[in-house]
Symmetry: C2
Subunit: 204 residues, 2 copies
DNA sequence: TGCCAAATGGCACTCAGTAGCACTTGACAC
DNA sequence: GTGTCAAGTGCTACTGAGTGCCATTTGGCA
C-alpha cells in the first residue's frame, strides 16, 4: 500500500483494513481459525459484517491485499522489458515487482504467523501464487517459443522462481531491516545459475 | 485407487465416488461452478447431499481422492531409502510415489478440464501440493543439515520438484498410453542437472 | 453551505458444511 | 438360510459464509 495515503478517506480505509486484520490475527491466535466467525472479527474491529466483505474476499483472505493489483503489476513488469532481453531478466523484474507492489509488512507477518497453523489461510495465499506461476510460465514459454503443455521447462522454472520469491520473503521476515524487494533480488541472483540449468534441460 | 476393489461394498463406494465426480464434471461444464449446488450434484448422482460430504471435503474438492493417503505415501517414500543415499534419490522416490499412489485417471482428467476455468477447483488441488512441498523441503533440509528458514535451497528445490511432478502429469495427460509414474520419472531424470544446480546455489 | 460520490450498516436471502439419529444393506459367523 | 454387526445412507435441523439491495452517513469539493 502507499506509505502515506492522501486524504482522510484513504487513511480511514487503511485504518479499517488494518483493524480488521489485527482483530483477525488476535482472535485466530486466541481461539483458533474455525472458532472465529466473521461477526467476531467485524465486531472486534468496530465495523459491520457487511463491511468486512468490502475489504476482504473471505475469512481465509483476511491478510491478503489486492491480489488483482499484484497480478496486474506482475504482468506489467513482465511486459516492460526490451524484446531481446534474456528470459531471466523478465522473471527477475517480475518477482521484484511482486515483492514491492502493495507490500504491507504487518499483513505479511500476520500471514506468516497464522499460516503454518491454519491451512485454510496458507491455501488462500497459495491460490494467488498459482496465478503468478501461470503468468511466469506463459512468459517463459512465449520467450522460448515453445508450447506450455509440451515442454516442461516453463512450468518448472516458473515454480522455482516463485519459490525464490517465497524464500526471499522468508529471509526478509528474519531481517526486517532490509527492503523486501532487495532481499528478493539478492535471492534471485544467487539462484540464477540454477534457473539457467532448468532452461538448459533436455526437452525430450 | 485399487484397480479392482475387493467386495461389493468397496465397488459400490468407488461407483458412488465416480458418479458424484462425473455428475459434478458435467454440471460444472454445463452451467458453471458457482451455478452448481451440491444438492444438484448429489441429485444427479442419486445420493443425498449428506452423502456427498462423506466422499468429498467440499464442492471444490470433488475431484480429489484421499489427500491424506497421498501425503502419507509421500512421507513413507521419502523415509524408506538408505541413510547415505543422494538427496535427489529420495525426491525421485517421492514424486514417483505421488504419481502412482491412488492415481485415478478419470478424476485427474476431470480436474484438468475444469481447473483452468474454475480457480476454486484448481486452488483446492494446489492446496495439497503445498503439503508436498513442505514435506520435500523438510526432507532436503534434514538431508543437507541446514535450517529450512535460513537456507533458501530446500524450498526452491522442493517447489521445482513439485513442478516436475505437475509437468509429468501434464505430459501424461497428452499421452495416456504410458504409465503416469513412468512419465513423471522420465521428467525428473531430465530435470536432475537443474535440481543439482539448485542444491549448488551459494547460500549467502 | 450544499451537492455528489464513496463508504457503511442493516436486512434478507441462498447455500456450504456439520451434528445427531433412524434406517438400510453388505459382510460374516453359525 | 438366519441372525448379528458394522458400514453406509437419508433426513432434519442448525450455524455460519457470502451476496444483493437499499437507506444512511461521511468525506471531498465547488
Amino acid at each position: 500500500m502507499d506509505p502515506i495515503p492522501q486524504g482522510l478517506r484513504e487513511r480511514k480505509k487503511l485504518e479499517t483494513r488494518l483493524a480488521l486484520a489485527r482483530a483477525a490475527l488476535r482472535l485466530f491466535e486466541e481461539r483458533g481459525y474455525a472458532a472465529t466467525t466473521i461477526d467476531d472479527i467485524a465486531a472486534a474491529a468496530n465495523v459491520s459484517r457487511r463491511t468486512f466483505f468490502r475489504y476482504f474476499a473471505g475469512k481465509d483472505e483476511v491478510f491478503i491485499v489486492d491480489p488483482e493489483g499484484k497480478l496486474a503489476a506482475l504482468h506489467v513488469a513482465l511486459a516492460e522489458g526490451p524484446p531481446e532481453e534474456p528470459t531471466l531478466a523478465a522473471l527477475r523484474r517480475g518477482v521484484v515487482a511482486l515483492a514491492s507492489a502493495y507490500f504491507e509488512p504487518e499483513l505479511v507477518r500476520a500471514e506468516a504467523r497464522v499460516g503454518p497453523r491454519e491451512p485454510a489461510v496458507a491455501a488462500a495465499g497459495f491460490a494467488y501464487q498459482v496465478q503468478w506461476e501461470d503468468a511466469l510460465a506463459a512468459e517463459v514459454a512465449a520467450d522460448l517459443g515453445v508450447d506450455l503443455h509440451a515442454d516442461p521447462r516453463p512450468r518448472i522454472v516458473a515454480h522455482a522462481t516463485v519459490a525464490v520469491l517465497r524464500a526471499g520473503i522468508a529471509a526478509w521476515l528474519q531481517d526486517d531491516a532490509r527492503d523486501p524487494a532487495e532481499v528478493v533480488a539478492d535471492t534471485f541472483d544467487r539462484a540464477t545459475p540454477a534457473l539457467e540449468a532448468i532452461l538448459a534441460m533436455p526437452t525430450a
